[in-house]
């Protein structure tokens, strides 16, 4: 009896092959198997005969929307930087997308990084992706050599051990608190739709942090980010971070120091989070890819909460309305303005 994800994988392969063979798309962005347990490789398939490599499982933690603008560019006929856009429609690209990834594609469309008509969204309802770190933490000190995925459990094997663990217990925090697991855009439906999840408080982790004193919060911040090695995996895994030159890399002027000074590292993370305000879909890619296991996702989650409270907007959920922080309304809340007297009050 194939598992849900095995059936989804089969469907993905068939649909991708069809789209490529018909010439509907020039490339498909998906996942292939990884070389270690609980890893997968992002894969761009350009030929129907390579579609057999595509798969879907519970470890697809990287947001594929991150690859979309570049793959779209790669399938265009080559042209110089000043050459005009060729006549007629440009080749399309198909991409696997869950709820949050599809919302990122919406944001990319809203921000003119991606043209809607060039994207074929192969929508999959997400059942939540597993955190490799959580699984590894359960088996601390014992190397995991294989993980078999069942619909509701994982079978973890190593040298001299085999244990069954509940899948949901090791699903990433962002997935556990996700309320929109089903894709918002769907051109080709893969598997069964997943209904919205009721979550009494998706911002529980943020609330807990906010409840702490300023000193405790500062303690959390300094200790959480102290191990940052400035590899920028969080930034580079993020589909929102597409600036040609990031502010941390800018040399003229240089905004941020380049070493591991705590002020510089902290500034990078805070500024990156602010750049994502109103745009982040809490896909969790930043946290999943961090080699040091830093929980930088809480910063963007906090801003997601603020944007929802201030503007009533969740990123990527309203394709037709403008992004909250790139538009101005006369009645926009201004509580964030800090004066000498302290934080401003509503209506001031």
């Amino acid at each position: 009896m194939p598992t849900i994800n095995e059936k989804i994988s089969e469907e993905i392969r068939a649909q991708a092959k069809k789209l490529l063979a018909e010439g509907t798309v020039a490339a498909v962005i998906g996942y292939a198997s990884g070389s270690l347990p609980m890893t997968v490789k992002p894969l761009v398939v350009r030929r129907p005969e390579d579609c057999g490599k595509l798969l879907w499982n519970t470890f697809c933690v990287l947001n594929l929307a991150n690859f979309l603008p570049e793959v779209l560019k790669s399938v265009e006929p080559p042209r110089g930087p000043r050459d005009p856009k060729p006549e007629g429609p440009l080749p399309k690209v198909a991409i696997m997308a869950t709820g949050c990834w599809s919302r990122n594609i919406v944001v990319q469309i809203q921000e003119h990084q991606v043209e809607r008509e060039r994207v074929v969204v192969m929508g999959v309802g997400s059942r939540g992706m597993v955190s490799r770190r959580k699984v590894e933490a359960l088996f601390a000190g014992r190397e995991i050599l294989a993980v078999e995925e069942l619909d509701h459990d994982l079978i973890v094997r190593g040298s001299g051990f085999e244990e069954k663990i509940n899948r949901w217990s090791v699903v990433r925090d962002n997935c556990q608190t996700c309320t929109h697991p089903d894709p918002l855009l769907v051109d080709v439906r893969i598997g069964e739709p997943v209904s919205d999840r009721k979550n009494p408080n998706p911002f529980k982790q943020v609330d807990e942090l906010e409840a702490k004193s300023a000193a405790e919060r500062w303690g959390w911040f300094t200790s959480e980010f102290a191990t940052c090695i400035r590899c920028y995996a969080c930034r580079n895994a993020c589909p929102l971070c597409y600036c040609p030159t990031c502010f941390v890399d800018d040399a003229k002027p240089q905004w941020v120091g380049k070493s591991l000074d705590a002020t510089d590292t902290g500034l990078f993370h805070v500024m990156r989070a602010y750049h994502c305000a109103g745009r982040c879909t809490d896909c969790g890619a930043c946290e999943s890819v961090c080699p040091m296991g830093i929980n930088m996702r809480l910063l963007t989650k906090k801003l997601n909460k603020d944007v929802l409270n201030l503007y009533g907007i969740e990123a990527g959920m309203q394709p037709d309305s403008p992004l909250p922080l790139t538009t101005y309304k006369i009645n926009d809340p201004q509580k964030f303005i800090v004066t000498e007297a302290g934080a401003g009050k509503e209506g001031e």
Partner: protein, 345 residues
């Protein structure tokens, strides 16, 4: 060479004793210890009496942090108005304070030797090398991501170490390999190892000869331009997100950038780890970038480790520690890249 038989309790006492007069570091477990001004994440001060155990496989942080610190002050200067020395660069005092790194594995010890090839004439690396004593532990067990033997190393090797600890019945054998190692052990009242223990270790080394040069020889026989143009780079360029995770956790990635930092009129010129994965790494001021595409940057890192470095210096610039294999966000596995390169005709 002196060889001692050492119990766990004696080892812990030694580490405690060394800590009284020198800085002593040991691998940190998990997120136990954070980056400190004088060393990077993955290590902790050995002070405190907890028994020294070395996790299987390499420590979380590579040992390059002690020889090629992130960042490192190259010179200092004043920019204060009226200062007659304004703008005059001065070298910082040469670091001489002894430090001991306990618990590194043979792969990391080998990385020190490999990095010493490009840094042979580098005053800062040499000063750090001179003041650091390496007390390593050979590997009885490996992780599935370990591949030191393919890269020319061996899990039971002691190259690059001053003292090598190896498992023995009820404790360890400590081989004192260098004058620095002897100095560290001076005055300790320890039992010499029995001949049977020494023979047993030698026999284990024979069983696992390692140091495979066949792969290196095959790679050196390959045409550089054919490897460069091979189709295998396309999927890697597609999936790589060009972060610097692999380069920063790698013990043998040694690129650096140089920057000036000025705070309140006091300036310093520092060098810090850079990554050829970053577009800025090769960007000209004109805007031209010789490696402007992701594929080109990904290719450069692997070509440097597996082809360019061997062309210049002989060995691969990789010790097979497997850190990048474990931590690459998109599971680019250097073992697979190498296998693919070896098939290029």
């Amino acid at each position: 060479m002196k060889v001692f038989k050492i119990s766990q309790a004696e080892l812990d006492n030694m580490v405690a004793l060394w800590s009284q007069s020198r800085k002593v570091y040991r691998p940190a477990v998990g997120r136990q210890q954070q980056a400190q001004p004088d060393y990077g994440p993955g290590w902790r001060k050995a002070e405190g009496a907890s028994p020294l155990t070395v996790p299987i496989g390499p420590a979380a942080g590579s040992v390059k942090t002690f020889l090629f610190p992130q960042p490192e002050t190259m010179m200092t200067y004043s920019l204060k108005t009226g200062d007659p020395d304004r703008g005059l660069m001065k070298e910082p005092a040469k670091l001489t304070e002894s430090q001991v790194v306990v618990g590194l594995r043979p792969c990391d010890a080998r990385s020190v030797l490999l990095n010493n090839l490009p840094f042979r004439e580098d005053p800062f690396y040499q000063a750090n090398l001179e003041r650091t004593v390496f007390v390593g532990f050979t590997c009885d067990e490996s992780l599935s991501t370990c591949f030191c033997e393919q890269m020319g190393g061996s899990p039971l090797d002691s190259d690059g170490l001053d003292i090598a600890f190896s498992r023995a019945e009820n404790g360890y054998l400590a081989e004192i390999l260098t004058p620095k190692g002897e100095e560290l052990m001076a005055g300790l009242n320890l039992a010499p190892a029995a001949n049977s223990d020494i023979t047993a270790l030698a026999d284990r080394r024979k069983e696992r000869p390692g140091k495979d040069t066949a792969i290196l020889n095959t790679m050196q026989g390959k045409d550089l331009n054919k490897l460069y143009e091979a189709p295998l780079w396309q999927p890697l360029g597609d999936s790589c997100i060009n972060c610097g995770a692999c380069t920063f956790i790698c013990p043998t990635c040694y690129c650096f950038d140089i920057q000036d930092e000025v705070v309140k009129g006091s300036g310093r010129r520092i060098r810090y780890w850079d990554s050829c994965m970053f577009p800025l790494y090769s960007l000209h001021t004109t805007g031209h970038n010789p490696r402007g595409r992701k594929l080109q940057r990904t290719r450069n890192r692997f070509m440097h480790k597996l082809k360019y470095f061997p062309e210049r210096f002989g060995p691969f610039s990789c010790v097979g520690c497997g850190r990048c294999v474990q931590d690459c966000p998109v599971n680019i596995d250097i073992r697979e890249v190498m296998a693919d390169l070896l098939t290029v005709e």
